[in-house]
Amino acid sequence: MNLFQTMAGTTKRRRRLTDGARHVVLICISLVVLLPLAWMVASSLKSNSAIFVYPPQLVPSHPKFDNYRKAFDYIPFWLYFRNSVIVSAATICGILFSCVPAAYAFSILRWRGRDLVFFLVLAGIMLPFQVLMVPLYVMYRDLHFLGTLLPLIVPPFFGQYISSAFSASLAIFLLRQFFRSLPGELIDAARIDGAGDWSILLRVVIPVARGGLITVTLFSFLSSWTDFLAPLIFLNKGSLFTLSLGLQQYQSLHFTAFNYLMAAAFVFALPVLLAFIFAQRFFVEGIALTGLRG
């Protein structure tokens, strides 16, 4: 008894000590990780003369909030913002429309060849977008999709790539994981009550697995909002640019207005940052399941 108490005492003391050390290390890591973002915000508030100064100030002495208005006028910012919103909103709707029933078929329904077909979905995760981009470009050209936002809007409704990084296959995989973890009795009970598969999906599975739907919604938003390669290839008109593409216009060969560029980058990142702050739990859950934010 006595021995046990002393053992508990020493481990407790040692633990408190290492906790202090852990705090120090973690604070250092957090600061290093957050510094680039702080530098972005600080730079976005510097005047044209204050930004090109050596050594640079970390905190601007006279913050110029006016920079944001100027940054929005420097390029057609709100036009690009609108395009990004359209593409992201369509992507989210499309993915939920096509991938939720597909995930249901791969998890709750039982049918011959299911695992084989699901293997094809998984293989889709491995398929590099670089293989598809050339033929898709030519197909979209022949369909007269180029010159519209359709190349980014249509595929999600058919359960295909969301962005060049996060594939719709990953969304199906993620939803399937969530659906599989539902208690089987729940679905059996609904089936005994005479519910068909569509009403089981709509009335039982979706309400109970809404965490999975939120995660997939967030991931679809994040990846369509931030994607660069697919817009770069398919959007060949300035008026169609999303923010990913538009941001490049602050840079030119001879001069880059870094304060405006940082302001625009911050506003561009803000929607995803806010989504992350308010829904951290779902991001973490999704990453734990897929290993990638896309």
């Binding site: 705090h23 973690l26 890591i29 957090s30 990780v33 510094l35 680039p36 530098w39 972005m40 090109f52 100064v53 640079p56 029933p101 597909a102 249901y104 329904l109 049918w111 491995m126 398929l127 590099p128 293989v131 598809l132 981009m133 050339v134 033929p135 470009y137 030519v138 197909m139 359960g159 295909q160 790539y161 060049s164 719709a168 005994i192 598969d197 994040l222 931030t226 660069f228 390669l229 990913s244 941001l247 490049q248 602050y250 840079q251 060969l253 870094f258 940082m262 980058a265 990142a269 989504a275 992350f276 702050i277 951290q280 991001f283 973490v284 990453i287 734990a288 290993g291 990638l292 934010r293």
Partner: protein
């Protein structure tokens, strides 16, 4: 309790009879995905394979040239450069990200006051758009007014050219990539660590195991599947590395002196700048093949080295 069996028409007829009823079963649920899979994945996939054996340039109809694209690639010095550059990112970036991510996860493993805050802070770069990440770091790497040279100036290190320097451009991009990846890897590792039962450590402690031995004999082997999984996912991801490099060198793709000419950048150039669609398709198929070979090889190795819990070793 007897559960009422659904009455099937087949059994009523006396013998099982298979009927084509496509509106029943999985097909309606899969239909949008299936159409897309065929039209937007399978067809382009085989078009691309076919074009890789042609001289397609998007203006003229493709003409069969056999394996000449592949032969040409072997002799193309820029192809070799792009392979070396990409390998550099994969071979150094992936292990670096995994080691740092695992380190952060181990630090945050035991609950500590504010751990959610630390976790959030380290994860934040993952939700910043890649293009924004690229422009932030371009500015940090700015040789004249950037944060990094200023910080190095404090400890009396000469200012460097970073993205403008042929020897430092790749390591600079690597730094940026690791900054983006660590938080994501950490979150995955934390989820893996949570699965390891605490009793194992208690038992080991009673046997007198030191913390380092805990890691060597419990944490590391039991985290095997997660480590292995992140290895595959991030290798695939880095093999396709494109956006940050493209934005960082947008004025002059691949510069300085082709030190940032990555594989995907070179595919893009061939396809959309030089209009060598056939050549680009051949490159893309090599990328696909390499991705599959790496994945399959790792899966094979995994069976040898990684121990899944609840599984009996043969």
């Amino acid at each position: 309790m007897p559960v009422q069996q659904p009455i099937s028409h087949a059994s009523e007829a006396g013998r099982p009879r298979w009927r084509w009823r496509p509106w029943r079963g999985p097909l309606p649920f899969l239909l949008p995905w299936l159409i897309g899979f065929i039209a937007l994945t399978i067809i382009p996939l085989f078009l691309s394979l076919y074009w890789s054996f042609t001289n397609y340039d998007m203006l003229q109809p493709p003409q069969w040239v056999g394996a000449s694209n592949y032969v040409q690639l072997v002799h193309d010095p820029l192809f070799r450069t792009s392979v070396i550059n990409t390998s550099f990112m994969v071979v150094i970036g992936v292990p670096a990200g995994i080691v740092l991510g695992l380190g952060c996860a181990l630090l945050l493993r035991r609950p500590i006051r504010g751990s959610a805050l630390y976790r959030g802070a380290i994860f934040v770069p993952a939700v910043v758009p890649s293009v924004a990440v690229a422009v932030i770091w371009i500015w940090i790497f700015n040789p004249d007014y950037g944060l990094l040279n200023a910080a190095l100036g404090v400890v009396h290190i000469k200012p460097q050219g970073w993205l403008a320097s042929p020897s430092l451009a790749k390591p600079s991009l690597l730094m940026l990539l690791v900054w983006e990846a660590v938080g994501q890897i950490m979150v995955l590792m934390l989820a893996g660590l949570k699965e390891i039962p605490g009793e194992l450590y208690e038992a080991a402690s009673l046997d007198g195991a030191k913390p380092l031995q805990h890691f060597r004999y419990i944490t590391f082997p039991l985290l095997g599947p997660v480590l292995f999984y992140s290895l595959i996912v991030w290798m695939i991801f880095y093999l396709q590395f494109f956006t940050e490099a493209f934005v960082a060198t947008a004025q002059d793709l691949g510069e300085p002196v082709n030190s940032t000419l990555f594989y995907s950048i070179y595919i893009y150039q061939n396809a959309f700048q030089f209009l060598k669609m056939g050549y680009a398709s051949a490159m893309a198929w090599i990328l696909f093949a390499v991705t599959m070979i790496i994945t399959v090889t790792l899966f094979r190795l995994q069976r040898r080295f990684i121990f899944y819990r609840g599984e009996q070793r043969a």
